[in-house]
Amino acid sequence: MKKIEAIIRHFKLEDVKAALVAASIEGMTVAEVRGFGRQKGHKETYRGAEYVVDFMPKVKLEIVLSDAVADKAIQVIQEAARTGNIGDGKIFVSNIDEVIRIRTGESGEEAI
C-alpha cells in the first residue's frame, strides 16, 4: 500500500477533496502546516519594523491507499490543486507496510 502526502494551498482543499471523492477515494487525513520553499514570503512591517513571513500556511493531506489507485490519486490531486503559480505544493509518495482499522481490527487493503 502507498501513502500519499500532498502539501497544497488552503483554498484548494475543498476542490481536491471533491475530486478525490469523485475518484472514489473516500478516506483522508488533513493537517495544518506551514511551508517553506521557493514561494518566498512577503515582507511586512509591524510598527515600523520590517519582517519576512517565510513560512506560508499550507494544508497537508495524507491518504493511504492500495497501490492500484495510487497513480490515479496522484493525478487527481495534481490537477485539482494546481493554480500554476509558485507555491502550489508537492506530492510525496511512500510505502506503507500495514494498515489496521481500529474499530474492526481488519488489516491490509480491507482496512483502508
Binding site: 488552503h10 483554498f11 482543499l13 475543498e14 495544518e32 506551514r34 511586512e44 512591517t45 509591524y46 515600523g48 500556511p57
Partner: protein, 499 residues
C-alpha cells in the same frame, strides 16, 4: 535628549516622511491659529478666573438671594443635569462602536478581523471630524426649507457673545456619536470584500451628506429655535422617530443594502445550484460580547434621547427598550429553533439587536406591554429577513440590513400602531387613534428608503467605476488583513478557514 535622538533618526528616509507630516501639520496650524489669535485678542478684555480645578461647586452666590434668583438657580441645575445626562448617554452610545466592531469581527472570518476593526475605528474617527466640519451644520443649521441646514459648520460652540455655550457641546457630542452609528452599520454588510480606501470615502459621504440631510428632516429643529429654523418637513408632519429607528438605523441599513448589492456576494457564499454555503464567523464569544456592549449603549441611545431630565421619562424609555430587546431575543431564538431545528446563537444575538432597533422609534410613546410585542415581532421579522436576503442572493455577513434596515422600518411603523397619548403623543391604530399616525410613519419610512438607498447606490456605483469598490479575488482569498494591513488578527494562530 532630542539631539541624540535626532542624529539617530536623521538618516532614515521614512522618518523624513513622518517628520514632513508633522511640519505640514504645524505649518497649516500656525496659519489657522494666527487668525484665531486676532479674534481672541479683540475680546481679550474678559478676565474670568482660571479655575479649571476641582471646586466643590455651589450655585454662584448672587449679591442678594431673591425668590427669582433662587428659582433661576433651580432652572440652572435642571439644565446642567440635563447636560450631564446627555453627555453620559453620549459616552454609552460612543461605546457602541466597540460593540459594532466586535459583532462584525466575531461574525466574520479571522482573516478579515483586523480590517473590519479598522473600518469601525476609522469610520468613527473620520466621521467625528467630518460631522463636526460639515454634517452638523447640514443637519441642524438654520433653514427655511426644512430639507437641510446651511449654518453652523465647523462648530466652535461659542455663542453670539463669544462665550462657550455648553449646551452646544453636549448636543454636538451626542449627535456625533449618533452619526457615527449610522456610518458604522454599513461596514458589516460589506465586510470581507470591500477595499479599505473605498470604505473610507463612503464614510465621509455618509457622515457629510446621507445621514445629516436625512436627519434634518425629522430632527433638524432640535438645535435652533423656530425663529431661524422652519422645522424638518417630516418632523412638521408629526413623524415619530424618537431615537432613530429610521433616521439612524434604517438610513444605515438601506445604505448597507445599496452597498451589498453593488459589491456583490463574497466568493463561495452562493452556489450555482442555488444553495447557500454559510460562511461562519470566527468567534461567537466576541460577537456575543459585542451584542452586550451594544445593548448597554442602547440605554444611552434611547433613554438618552430625552437629552434632559424631562421629568424622568428616561426611566420609562429604559423599560421599553429592555423589554423589546429581550422580546427580540426570545422570538428570534424560537423562530430559528422552529425553522431550523436548533437554537442558533447568531440568530438570538441578531434578535437582541432587532428588538433594540425596533423600539428605537416608538420607545417614548408605547407601554411596556406594547414594547414587548414590538420586540417579539421584530425578532421574528429579523430571522425571516436574514433568510430572505440569502434567497435574494444579497450577502450580508452580519445581518446588518435585516437588523437595522428592515427592523428599523418595522419599529417606525409600530409607532403608528402602538403609540399612546398618555405617554405624550398621539394614539396609534391599536389605541383608537385611527390611521393618521400610521400614514405619516409610512411616508417617513418610504422617504428615507428612497433617499438613503438611492443616494448610496449612486455613491457606491461612482466608487465602483472609479477607484473600485472590491478587492481582488486573490486578496479576498488571502484575507484583507494581510493584504490591506500587512498584519494578522492573531499572528500566532492558525485558523482553518478553507474558503
Amino acid at each position: 535628549m532630542n539631539l541624540g535622538m535626532l542624529s539617530v533618526l536623521s538618516d532614515i528616509s521614512m522618518i523624513r516622511k513622518g517628520g514632513l507630516i508633522l511640519l505640514l501639520l504645524m505649518g497649516s496650524l500656525l496659519a489657522t491659529q494666527s487668525s484665531f489669535a486676532d479674534e481672541s485678542a479683540a475680546e481679550g478684555a474678559k478676565t474670568e478666573e482660571a479655575v479649571p480645578a476641582v471646586v466643590e461647586a455651589e450655585p454662584e452666590v448672587v449679591e442678594e438671594v431673591t425668590l427669582i434668583s433662587v428659582n433661576e438657580s433651580v432652572g440652572t441645575v435642571v439644565s446642567e443635569v440635563g447636560l450631564l445626562w446627555t453627555c453620559i448617554a453620549a459616552f454609552l452610545v460612543f461605546f457602541m462602536q466597540a460593540g459594532f466592531a466586535l459583532v462584525e469581527a466575531g461574525f466574520t472570518r479571522s482573516k478579515n478581523a483586523v480590517n473590519i476593526i479598522m473600518k469601525n475605528l476609522m469610520d468613527f474617527s473620520i466621521g467625528s471630524i467630518s460631522f463636526w466640519l460639515v454634517g452638523f451644520g447640514l443637519m441642524f443649521g438654520a433653514t427655511t426649507t426644512g430639507f437641510f441646514g446651511t449654518t453652523d459648520f465647523f462648530v466652535s460652540g461659542l455663542d453670539a457673545d463669544g462665550n462657550p455655550d455648553n449646551w452646544t457641546y453636549a448636543f454636538l457630542i451626542f449627535q456625533t456619536v449618533f452619526a457615527a452609528t449610522a456610518a458604522t452599520i454599513v461596514s458589516g454588510a460589506m465586510a470581507e470584500r470591500t477595499k479599505f480606501v473605498s470604505y473610507l470615502i463612503y464614510t465621509v459621504a455618509i457622515t457629510v451628506i446621507v445621514y445629516p440631510i436625512a436627519g434634518s428632516w425629522s430632527w433638524g429643529n432640535l438645535y435652533h429655535g423656530s425663529d431661524v429654523h422652519a422645522g424638518g418637513w417630516l418632523g412638521n408632519m408629526g413623524f415619530i422617530d424618537f431615537a432613530g429607528s429610521t433616521v439612524v438605523h434604517s438610513v444605515g441599513g438601506w445604505a448597507a443594502l445599496a452597498g451589498a448589492i453593488v459589491i456583490g456576494a463574497r466568493k463561495g457564499k452562493f452556489n450555482k445550484d442555488g444553495s447557500v454555503t454559510p460562511i461562519m464567523g470566527h468567534s461567537m464569544p466576541l460577537a456575543a460580547l459585542g451584542v452586550f456592549i451594544l445593548w448597554l449603549g442602547w440605554f444611552g441611545f434611547n433613554p438618552g434621547s430625552t437629552t434632559s431630565l424631562d421629568g424622568g421619562n428616561f426611566a420609562r424609555v429604559a423599560v421599553t427598550t429592555n423589554l423589546s430587546a429581550v422580546g427580540g431575543c426570545v422570538a428570534a431564538l424560537i423562530t430559528g429553533w422552529v425553522m431550523f431545528g436548533k437554537p442558533d446563537v447568531s440568530l438570538a444575538l441578531n434578535g437582541v439587536l432587532a428588538g433594540l432597533v425596533s423600539i428605537t422609534a416608538p420607545c417614548y410613546n408605547v407601554s411596556p406591554c406594547s414594547s414587548l410585542c414590538i420586540g417579539l415581532i421584530g425578532g421574528v421579522i429579523c430571522v425571516l429577513s436574514v433568510v430572505m436576503f440569502d434567497k435574494l442572493k444579497i450577502d450580508d455577513p452580519v445581518g446588518a440590513i435585516s437588523v437595522h434596515g428592515v427592523c428599523g422600518a418595522w419599529g417606525t411603523l409600530s409607532a403608528g400602531l402602538f403609540a399612546q397619548e398618555i405617554f405624550g403623543g398621539t394614539n396609534g391604530l391599536f389605541f383608537g387613534g385611527g390611521t393618521a399616525q400610521l400614514v405619516t410613519q409610512v411616508i417617513g419610512i418610504v422617504a428615507y428608503f428612497v433617499w438613503a438607498f438611492g443616494v448610496s447606490l449612486v455613491i457606491f456605483l461612482g466608487i465602483k467605476y472609479t477607484i473600485g469598490l472590491r478587492v481582488s479575488e486573490e486578496e479576498e482569498l488571502r484575507g484583507l488583513d494581510i493584504t490591506e494591513h500587512g498584519m494578522h488578527a492573531y499572528p500566532y494562530l492558525q485558523h482553518v478557514e478553507s474558503n
